[in-house]
């Protein structure tokens, strides 16, 4: 998903300060549309409390899905407040858009949106504590300094801890947000360090942190059987037979609507334990009206794509110059067909939600990336006012984009309403894999034209994608192209056009949406063009990037060729590209990609055995997300995870459909990466003088094409379809 990196100019930052409950200083900060902060609803993006004992409590407003935001945003406040990190406590904020603004996890946006703002919040608090100390001592504030939660006056040797000053500071006027002085980043003590995740101690001791662990008094457990064909309806079910199973308290036919991301038809089994509910499901027999999607299959999609590729495209995406004419005049024309499959998110914690629906109020405990839209969906579906719905955010056992949707939330609410009791709904793994919002597959029919010197003069992609709502009108969610994908704007004749296959299968954003698939196609084909023109793949890319400059405008997805040169140069240096002596059967591949405001270049070293078996030896990563890495430990972890995630997608992930049903049910056929396949990932950051941006996604896209380009370097065989088919790499 995409969200603006910058605050809309019509909104302004405001700061509110005062006495905290129980004494001490409260600092709230956020955004408002109103002229005066006093009459504005306080949309707090930060909420800080400094207690008389010196403990600083910071509310974490966004969902934690493993991206580390619960630790990294508070680090910025603590840095500018100038307190010891050990005195900081972090609590999960409740879901309330009126108080906290839009709370979500997606698009690697949180750091870009909050970096400056969080620092200002901390700095304002520090200014107030200094002012309180200066007033108490009768000295100018300018003579006071701070260190680790203490205000100091050097000349007199006076010192006072923040805790002892907090209540006095609360009585002072709120400082002007824009006027508070920020630290010189060279003096940072917390930001830029390696800070461990705030919940680490709870995680390693098995504390109940996750949605699946929620316990509510009087709670019962539910499973929910939906039609294996997306959008199918219940005709009838053997409710009485299932009701007779041990522990079963109720069986309910739930009627849903047509929206695949809302409440769908299904049968809920409610029991006194989850295992009994799931076991009773084995006796459930449902007659389904499967609907039109039952006619769709992966095989059919491939046949339709092949047919559409031979017809004119129907959807223009971008046209610069005249690619068709330039191809006709090119010295060399290279043509290739690339494709990639639908894939599932497969977070390790299956979808779940606990809901307590009463006549007058609804309470929800949900691991979700999008709590407020979930709240709205529940209110709308149940016909209750949004004000009567409370959603508690619970730590997510992985997100990857799956929990941007709230289907499980509305299901839990509907089942609780039917059962008249608090319900914990938990999907099993097959449910999770059969009812995802998949990364859509795609087919690309590419042509590249080179002049006699090997320079790229024309680029044409006929993209066969999928059309939403079983129509061929607009791209499915996460199945589009923008036309700004590299080599956009560096080749004079560039044409991207599309044709659509009507699709009834739900799709959605998977970590680095669109980029995770397009990178494979574009960066592999660029490699083909380099080799066709007799050029080194790095050198060809450098020539394509050309002089350092910014292509496009802030409104048109700008691309800074200089930043990409920077990471490419760095990864070449670190990996020893072109210089390292590699054993026979081992090679290197390179790729770069820009996504989510981050510039990443990666080199993969891999070997291919005579059997075709691939071993990835190592990945080098160079990334540029701006001038500051907030949490070096979290940042490296995100990059390593994203890179290995991308390798897993390339090596083993595919969801196939037959008769409108997903065929893979578990990790036997849908393969996640395991320890023996996990190569070392060496991470380097290039600190360019640009604003700090997010890191959940942009390291993922380059790795699949870099791997496939390494395979080409070893075998001379070009991988044009994911997941990689090892049988095609066999040399004996």
């Amino acid at each position: 998903m995409n969200a603006p990196a910058n605050i809309a100019p019509s909104r302004r930052l405001f700061l509110k300060t005062g006495l905290a409950l129980g004494g001490g200083l409260f600092i709230g900060a956020g955004l408002t549309d109103a002229a005066s902060a006093d009459d504005a609803p306080a949309a707090l993006s930060a909420y800080v409390r400094i207690a008389p004992d010196g403990i600083v409590t910071i509310a974490s407003r966004n969902p934690e899905i493993g991206q580390g935001i619960k630790t990294s945003l508070p680090m910025l406040i603590a840095e500018e407040l100038d307190v010891d990190w050990k005195d900081v406590r972090i609590e999960q904020a409740r879901v309330d858009t009126k108080v906290f603004g839009f709370q979500y996890a997606g698009g690697s946006t949180a750091m870009a949106q909050n970096y400056d703002h969080m620092r200002q919040v901390g700095a304002a608090g520090r200014a107030m504590l200094i002012a309180a100390a200066a007033a108490k001592w009768g000295v100018p504030a300018s003579e006071c300094s701070t260190a680790a939660g203490v205000v100091l006056h050097k000349a007199s040797g006076k010192r006072a801890s923040y805790g002892t000053l907090a209540t006095a500071a609360a009585a002072l006027p709120t400082p002007d947000f824009a006027a508070v002085a920020l630290k010189d980043p060279k003096t940072f003590k917390i930001v830029g360090q390696r800070v461990g995740g705030i919940d680490n101690a709870s995680i390693v001791t098995g504390k109940p942190l996750y949605g699946i662990d929620v316990v509510v008094p009087g709670m019962v457990y539910a499973v929910f059987e939906k039609c294996p064909v997306f959008g199918g309806k219940v005709v009838s079910a053997n409710v009485d037979e299932v009701k007779a199973q041990r522990g079963v308290k109720g069986v309910y036919i739930i009627k849903g609507g047509p929206a695949l991301d809302g409440l769908l038809d299904g049968v809920a089994i409610v029991a006194d334990s989850w295992w009994r509910a799931d076991k009773a499901r084995k006796s459930l027999k449902v007659v389904w009206d499967e609907g039109p999607t039952a006619a769709q299959s992966s095989k059919g999609f491939a046949e339709q794509a092949a047919a559409l590729s031979k017809q004119p495209a129907t959807l223009p995406v971008r046209k610069d110059g005249d690619a068709k004419a330039a191809l006709a005049n090119a010295a060399h024309v290279i043509e290739a067909e690339y494709s990639y499959p639908f894939i599932a998110h497969a977070p390790l914690e299956p979808q779940n939600c606990t809901a307590d629906v009463r006549s007058d109020k609804v309470e929800i405990w949900a691991p979700t990336q999008m709590p407020a839209p979930g709240l709205s969906l529940v209110a709308k579906t149940l016909g209750v006012p949004e004000a009567n719905v409370t959603v508690h955010m619970v730590r997510c056992g992985g997100g990857f984009g799956r929990r941007l949707l709230n289907d499980y939330m509305v299901e839990a609410a509907a089942i609780s309403k039917a059962a008249g009791a608090p319900v914990k709904l938990l999907w099993n793994r097959a449910d999770d894999m059969h009812h995802d919002f998949y990364r859509p597959g795609g087919f690309h029919y590419l042509k590249g034209g080179l002049d006699a010197s090997g320079k790229l003069v024309a680029f044409h992609d006929h993209f066969v994608s999928f059309g939403a709502n079983n129509e061929a009108v607009k791209f499915v969610s996460s199945g589009g192209m923008t036309g700004t994908e590299f080599p956009s704007r560096v080749v004079d004749n560039y044409l991207i056009e599309a044709s659509l296959i009507p699709c009834g299968i739900p799709t959605g954003a998977l970590r680095a949406p669109q980029s995770n698939a397009l990178s494979f196609v574009l960066q592999s084909f660029i490699d083909e063009l380099a080799h066709a023109g007799g050029k080194d793949p790095v050198e060809f890319r450098r020539q394509l990037l050309g002089a350092p400059r910014v292509l496009g405008t802030p409104q048109t997805d700008p691309f800074d060729t200089g930043r990409m040169h920077g990471v490419l140069d760095l990864v070449v240096e670190k990996s020893g590209w072109g210089e390292a002596k590699l054993p026979v059967g081992t090679g290197m591949g390179v790729a770069f990609y820009y996504s989510h405001r981050g510039y990443f270049a990666e080199v993969v070293q891999a070997s291919v055995a005579a059997s075709g078996a691939i071993k990835v030896d190592k990945v080098w990563v160079a990334g540029d997300i701006g001038r500051q890495i907030v949490n070096m430990s979290g940042a490296e972890n995100q990059v390593q995870g994203a890179v290995l995630d991308g390798l897993a997608e390339a090596l083993g992930q595919e969801i196939t459909f037959a008769n409108g049903r997903a065929q893979e049910s578990n990790f036997d056929r849908f393969r996640l990466l395991r320890m023996p396949q996990a190569c070392p990932v060496e991470v380097h950051f290039l600190r360019s003088d640009n604003p700090t941006t997010g890191l959940g996604e942009p390291a993922l896209p380059p790795v699949a094409p870099a791997l496939c380009n390494a395979i080409f370097a070893v075998t001379g065989k070009r991988v044009r379809r994911l997941p990689i088919d090892v049988a095609q790499l066999k040399s004996v």
Binding site: Q67, V204, G206, D213, R429, N666, M675, A678
Partner: protein
């Protein structure tokens, strides 16, 4: 069927069907939430516990097969020197991202170090291959195991 279970050093009474998996006895009957559901069929390791010191997938272990054996979960593994050391190494290396699989990872790592105090990379691969980390924190899991074992991290 009524039975007594020895869990983390305490004797607990349960009365459930003999085919109920240990995972669900722990989670829903005894409110021990550390072992997690990931796949339900022994493919991911999120439910790993020790039965008499051996790492087992609790989602595939019918309660009737457990008998008087000693069950250890992530909640109790810190009572052992190796378990405690691994928990500390996991914190020192800031291993977790979402953290959901890490209880199972630590249980498998503890079982490994109990039989192989100085594991090789191949032994780590072998012992940990059954535990999936969807966030792919494998580089750090390996480093944390080596650190806890006092083996040089490459």
């Amino acid at each position: 069927m009524a039975m007594k279970l020895n869990v983390n050093g305490s004797v607990r009474d349960v009365d459930v069907e003999p085919d109920m998996p240990l995972l669900w006895v722990l989670r829903d009957e005894l409110n021990i939430k550390g072992p997690k559901l990931g796949c339900g069929v022994g493919l991911c390791g999120a439910c790993t516990v020790h039965i008499d010191g051996v790492a087992r997938r609790s989602c595939m272990t019918p309660i009737s097969t457990v008998g008087a054996a000693k069950i250890t979960t992530i909640e109790g593994v810190g009572d052992s020197v190796i378990g405690k050391r691994l928990q500390k190494a996991w914190i020192d290396h800031d291993v977790a991202q979402c953290g959901y699989c890490q209880a199972g990872q630590i249980m498998s790592a503890t079982a490994l170090l109990q039989t192989h105090p100085k594991p090789t990379d191949a032994e780590i691969d072998g012992a940990m291959a059954g535990n999936i980390c969807r966030c792919a924190t494998y580089n750090r899991i390996r480093a944390a195991i080596k650190d806890a074992a006092g083996v040089a991290v490459a």
